[in-house]
């Protein structure tokens, strides 16, 4: 039992911090421009594919730096030439634009890299079990993922709170027009933040690609979860994104490890449930099976009960 709890917690932490790398960028972009970027996970996928290709030519370590930068440039270009153009048509048009962009990036990835999963492997230097507890071992690469994401978290925190650029970004979150009046180029700040958020997503893709798989569906698999995270945490709130990332990450990994069903619960309470009825599926599914649904249930609940999320201060 301790083994299960320990490793679920550790894996949940790794997954949660990975989610935070995505959700931090997404929530910054939302807070600033009011647009929920549907294509955010697509940038994460681009990061993984760029890194896969670059690894073939340069090796993993240069790819770790170059791929996120490339994704950041793509993101900045998208903001400059796409999003800024549809901005005047309102938020719904922006949402539709980013949705179309997500579809387009997925199709481009399929056209360029093919439909099959790519064998983007963990670099040899990190391909060993870090430690072993009871019968389960913890791979070194996951520790590396945790290290990178915590490092990014600290860096992001310092940049946002301790530097001049960070102050301007924070001010643009709440008072964009006032920041503009003070002589700052707000559109350029928007572009920079969009590029930064995309680069963070790209970095997440680079380090998650070898573990979660590099395939054209990877954006959709993670994309909806990241949405859930930012909505539950509260749109525009970095603290909320952090807490919700860890919450969802740990919840997901724990649920996958549990094999209890409603029938088990009923038996424990002394109620007998028939396995023959038409709804038998409902009480014979295990918690592990409904793990993929839980985030969405949470999402709907939060949106109905508290649309500003856990830490948000305003409604969308």
């Amino acid at each position: 039992m301790f083994e299960l709890v320990f490793f679920s917690l550790l894996n949940g932490l790794v997954f949660g911090m990975l989610l935070f790398m995505l959700s931090s960028g997404l929530t910054l972009i939302f807070g600033m421009m009011g647009v929920l970027n549907f294509a955010h996970a697509a940038f994460y996928m681009l990061g993984a594919y760029f890194a896969y290709t670059l690894t073939g030519y340069l090796g993993f370590w240069p790819a770790l730096v170059i791929a996120p930068l490339l994704v950041g440039v793509v993101g900045a270009l998208v903001e400059r030439h796409g999003l800024r153009r549809v901005h005047r048509f309102g938020h719904v048009a922006e949402l539709i634009f980013t949705f179309g962009l997500a579809v387009l990036i997925e199709e481009i990835v399929q056209a360029v890299w093919g439909r099959a999963a790519k064998s983007y492997e963990v670099p040899e230097l990190l391909d060993f079990p870090l430690f072993r507890l009871f019968s389960t071992s913890f791979p070194a690469f996951k520790a590396f993922m945790l290290l990178v994401s915590v490092g990014i978290f600290v860096l992001l925190f310092l940049v946002l709170t301790r530097t001049r650029a960070g102050l301007i970004i924070q001010a643009s979150l709440t008072h964009p027009s006032m920041v503009g009046m003070l002589g700052h180029n707000v559109p350029r700040v928007f572009m920079a933040v969009f590029g930064l958020g995309s680069a963070l997503a790209g970095l997440a893709g680079v380090i998650a690609g070898p573990v979660l798989g590099t395939f054209p569906g990877m954006a959709q698999v993670l994309g909806s979860i990241v949405f859930v995270v930012v909505v539950i945490g509260g749109l525009g709130s970095l603290t909320g994104a952090f807490v919700a990332s860890l919450l969802i990450g740990i919840l997901q990994t724990f649920a996958v490890a549990l094999n209890y069903t409603l029938t088990d619960l009923a038996t424990a309470l002394g109620i007998g449930l028939s396995a023959q009825s038409a709804f038998a599926d409902l009480w014979t599914v295990t918690i592990a099976q409904i793990a993929p649904i839980m985030p969405y249930l949470l999402l709907i609940l939060v949106l109905i009960v508290r649309p500003m999320g856990l830490f948000g201060t305003r409604e969308t």
Binding site: V92, A93, I96, F97, L104, A280, Y296, I300, L303, T316
Partner: protein, 421 residues
């Protein structure tokens, strides 16, 4: 100017013409493929129109409209399978109605909480719902049939007037009938007070509240109606294909209906019809020629969002004043120039994309491919250069030609003097 008939008479004349065309179509295009494509189109038209009741007329962006389509289809299929042979065997022509009622029921259920808000929150809830239903479709195997879905046999339904729906043409007439009925009903809905209030709530919810309407209730009514018609489309889907998988309730189908509705134009009632026809046509035809047809559809969609947010219908309606003024012919030359240049750019981009795709998809060692009716060697420089020049040159030229076409449109629409002002 020709003699203009009274609007009402003209509307009925249009209806009659549509019916005549629909009856004649299978005789003109009788091949099984053509019938299959037309059946698909009819279903897509109802689905897209129902989607536009929310997006275009109600201002609600949903990422999960396929939920009502799919669930309607599943319930219709279960009704057929469970009741066939018994005293309550449903007649096949009424199965879409079963689907519609199911769509209405689920619309009322999910709409009861998701229509409390509009805008981004509504879109997010719809996303949550579609993910929820799509994920549970793999868990509730009894209802959704798991990975392989559920199938049925439409000839097992109650036979009315000796029509057994054994051939696709009979199904075509059923779909055509429902398409006309559903389109008529949806048009009528857009003219009812609540349909009008949906427009008002879309444009200015606060003022609508001050007039005395609950914005939430207005959205809820539109939502349920949209669910009902999506369910009809789903029921027709069940009758036509006789198989439903979890794909019918999924995010991809929900995204497709957004694509086709938007490409057609959300601002006009007829827009989604155009969009559904174009989308289905491209889907059926392009997929024969290229494996990356979805990429082209994605480009078309994004180009629509960026450059012509009013869609195809909007572009058509843009030329109405010029047509009335009899100045449409003046547009021919500037438009032709833009079209030629645009075609060059398109050929260049398509060529580059196809070659890139071939590079990654072809077996190792194969370097020769067929493109635009010629054989190319992708290892040589020439095709890359030609397509690259076409793409870049075409795009640059389009930037020069497009303003002239726009100026010509201005002049044709407002007259020379007004345009100059």
């Amino acid at each position: 100017m020709s003699i203009v008939a009274a609007p009402a008479a003209r509307r009925w004349g249009l209806c009659l013409a549509v019916v005549v065309v629909l009856v004649a179509l299978p005789h003109l295009f009788g091949s099984p493929i053509a019938i299959a494509v037309m059946n698909k189109m009819g279903i897509a038209i109802i689905f897209a129109l129902s989607y536009n009741m929310m997006l275009g007329q109600g201002g609600m962006l949903s990422f999960g409209h396929a939920v009502y389509f799919g669930l309607g289809g599943f319930i219709a299929m279960h009704a057929l399978n469970r009741l066939a042979g018994g005293p309550w065997a449903p007649p096949v022509p009424l199965l879409p109605l079963v689907g519609g009622l199911a769509g209405l029921g689920f619309g009322a259920l999910f709409g009861s909480f998701s229509t409390t808000r509009a805008g981004t929150v509504f879109a997010m809830i719809s996303l949550g719902i579609v993910e929820l239903v799509a994920s549970s479709s793999l868990i509730l195997k009894g209802f959704f049939g798991g990975e392989e879905g559920i199938s049925g046999n439409r000839t097992k339904g109650l036979v009315l007037w000796g029509i057994r729906f054994a051939s696709d043409v009979q199904v075509y007439y059923l779909i055509a009938f429902w398409t006309v009925v559903a389109t008529g009903l949806m048009y009528a809905f857009s003219r009812t007070p609540v349909g009008r209030m949906a427009n008002a709530v879309r444009d200015n919810p606060e003022r609508a509240e001050f007039v005395g309407y609950s914005q939430r209730w207005v959205r809820f009514v539109s939502f349920c109606a949209a669910g009902f018609f999506a369910g009809i489309a789903g029921g027709l889907f069940a009758v036509n294909y006789e198989i439903l998988t979890e794909e019918a309730v999924g995010l991809a189908r929900s995204g497709n209906v957004l694509l086709m509705t938007y490409i057609g134009g959300i601002g006009y009632f007829g827009g989604p019809i155009i969009g559904a026809v174009i989308f289905t046509f491209l889907e059926s035809m392009l997929s024969d020629y290229t494996p990356i047809w979805l990429l082209y559809l994605g480009i078309l969609f994004l180009a629509t969002v960026l450059f012509v947010p009013t869609g195809f219908a909007g572009v058509l309606m843009m030329h109405e004043p010029a047509r009335r003024a009899g100045r449409l012919h003046r547009l021919a030359l500037p438009y032709l120039a833009a079209a030629v240049v645009g075609l060059c750019a398109a050929v260049g981009i398509i060529g580059l994309l196809e070659m890139v795709h071939f590079w990654s998809a072809a077996a190792v060692g194969r370097t020769r491919m067929r493109l635009f009716w010629t054989m190319l060697d992708i290892k040589s420089v020439a095709p890359w250069l030609v397509f690259g020049v076409l793409a870049v040159g075409g795009a640059l030229a389009l930037r020069r030609v497009a303003p002239r076409a726009a100026a010509a449109w201005n002049e044709a629409t407002y007259g020379r003097e007004d345009a100059a002002r």
